[in-house]
């Protein structure tokens, strides 16, 4: 751990690193490598195999490492090496499911949504039906975790219980946990809207009026758990 602290002290990203220090030294080391590669995309590409090893044991470290790499790659997608690294990262993310922990899930879903949005700039993804099916599967996964008619459970607390600060602390902690669920459900709903619009975009490029596309449209409709009304709009 001392070694890691020394490395952190030497990097300009120290504040960022300290705020996301992971318990396991190896996990910390991998995340650090990605951060330290922020000025050199080739170095970042080299770290990806180590990043992959963080999954599934360290979903938070994995997500934050992928995000760091993604933010570098997305600015240089005309570079063939970077483009391929991005496509590998994209494919890897699409194979993985959302962490069960809702707090980690919020970051994960927003990251995956952003990677998809950027991926759609690339012909390899835009014009590939199987990529559309993968996005539909992600939509289905999102929908499976949406609680219908959900209303926020957390909120502001204005509670006085003189002489019992420990009970108030317990209530506050529970309320903060509920807010995470509220944010998770909000993220799910916002992401669902965006993904459905992306699927509509796919379906307009592969219209079901062409018999060769009919199966594709059915596949994405089923995988995304689209409603009858939504299917009619494809």
């Amino acid at each position: 751990m001392k070694t890691i602290v020394k490395i952190i002290a030497l990097t300009v990203l120290a504040t960022n690193v300290l705020s996301i220090a992971f318990a396991d030294a190896e996990t910390n080391g991998t995340y650090l490598k990605v951060l330290q590669a922020s000025n050199n995309i080739q170095d970042a590409i080299q770290t990806l195999p180590a990043v992959e090893k963080l999954w599934p044991q360290e979903p938070e470290a994995y997500s934050k490492s992928v995000n760091q790499a993604f933010q570098m790659f997305r600015t240089d997608l005309d570079n063939p090496d970077v483009r391929q690294a991005f496509l590998n990262l994209y494919a890897s993310m699409m194979r993985k499911s959302c962490p069960t922990n809702e707090g980690q899930g919020i970051f994960w879903i927003e990251l995956k949504r952003d990677i998809i949005s950027n991926g759609l700039n690339l012909d390899e993804i835009r014009n590939n039906k199987s990529q559309g099916v993968d996005i539909a599967k992600f939509t289905g996964e999102i929908r499976s975790r949406i609680i219908l008619n959900y209303s926020n459970q957390g909120g502001m607390l204005s509670i006085s219980m003189p002489g019992h600060p420990e009970i108030i602390k317990k209530l506050v902690d529970e309320n903060e946990r509920k807010k995470i669920t509220d944010n998770f459900q909000s993220t799910l709903r916002a992401t669902d809207q965006m993904l459905v619009s992306i699927l509509r975009d796919y379906s307009s490029r592969f219209p079901s009026s062409n018999p060769t596309n009919a199966n594709f449209i059915k596949q994405i409709s089923d995988a995304a758990h689209l409603t009858v009304e939504e299917r009619e709009k494809l």
């Binding site: 949005s117 502001m156 003189p162 807010k179 509220d182 619009s197």
Partner: protein
């Protein structure tokens, strides 16, 4: 706010804004985050050299518009009160003004202060012991500019008449922006009488509860 095209694009769209932030510089979809202060933001998207712009007027929250009492017992965030206990609870749905715009993803925070105007029964505690300890946490508004506020009090016996006040400074921020802004504050007043009847006043509403569970509101 999500931005996307209703139909397919044959090429990448290039996005820009005069205020606030866009998640991406290019692509078929985007996410716009309003600036953390009042401003006019013009979002422009360019496709094949042709551009389309849309201007949004961004306004700041000006304070509480109104509040509605949603419940006075069995509130999720507070233990149930039973007969013989001196306490009251009131779940308020608070709406922030102006209501003709959406403050979705705006966070509101009450700042915790010590108790003030302490009289009678409550004088057995110091202002610090009557501190608003459940404050200092952000709560996110929904698309209707609304959030819940659980107002509650539970007082140990023996009872006598008394009261105290929380003066409540408040803050707002755009979720994720980090910038914190001031909002006109409000207060919450607690009181009790010698029979253990408790009254809480907040946001032009009050709830009163006797020790045998009779609840009155306004």
């Amino acid at each position: 706010m999500a931005l996307y095209f209703g139909s397919t694009l044959p090429t990448n769209a290039l996005w820009s804004t005069t205020a606030g932030g866009l998640k991406f510089a290019s692509g078929s979809t985007n996410l716009f985050t309003a600036p953390s202060n009042a401003a006019t933001a013009t979002i422009t998207v360019q496709v094949f050299g042709k551009s389309v712009s849309k201007t949004f007027k961004v306004v700041e929250p000006s304070g509480i518009d109104h509040a509605v009492i949603a419940a006075t017992n069995n509130i999720l965030a507070f233990p149930n009160l039973t007969n013989g206990q001196a306490g009251a609870e009131m779940l308020l749905n608070i709406y922030f003004a102006p209501t003709e715009v959406s403050f979705y993803r705006v966070n509101i925070m009450e700042v915790g202060e010590d108790g003030s105007n302490i009289t009678g029964y409550f004088s057995q505690w110091t202002p610090q012991q009557l501190h608003h300890t459940s404050a200092d946490h952000w709560t996110t508004l929904n698309q209707a500019n609304e959030m819940n506020d659980t107002c509650a009090e539970l007082d140990p016996s023996p009872w006598s008449s008394g009261g105290f006040t929380w003066d409540i400074p408040s803050r707002w921020q755009v979720d994720g922006s980090g910038a914190t802004n001031f909002l006109n504050g409000w207060n919450q007043v607690f009181s009790i009488d010698g029979s253990g009847t408790v009254t809480i006043v907040k946001d032009n509403h009050w709830v009163q509860r006797t020790t045998n569970g009779v609840i009155t509101t306004k």
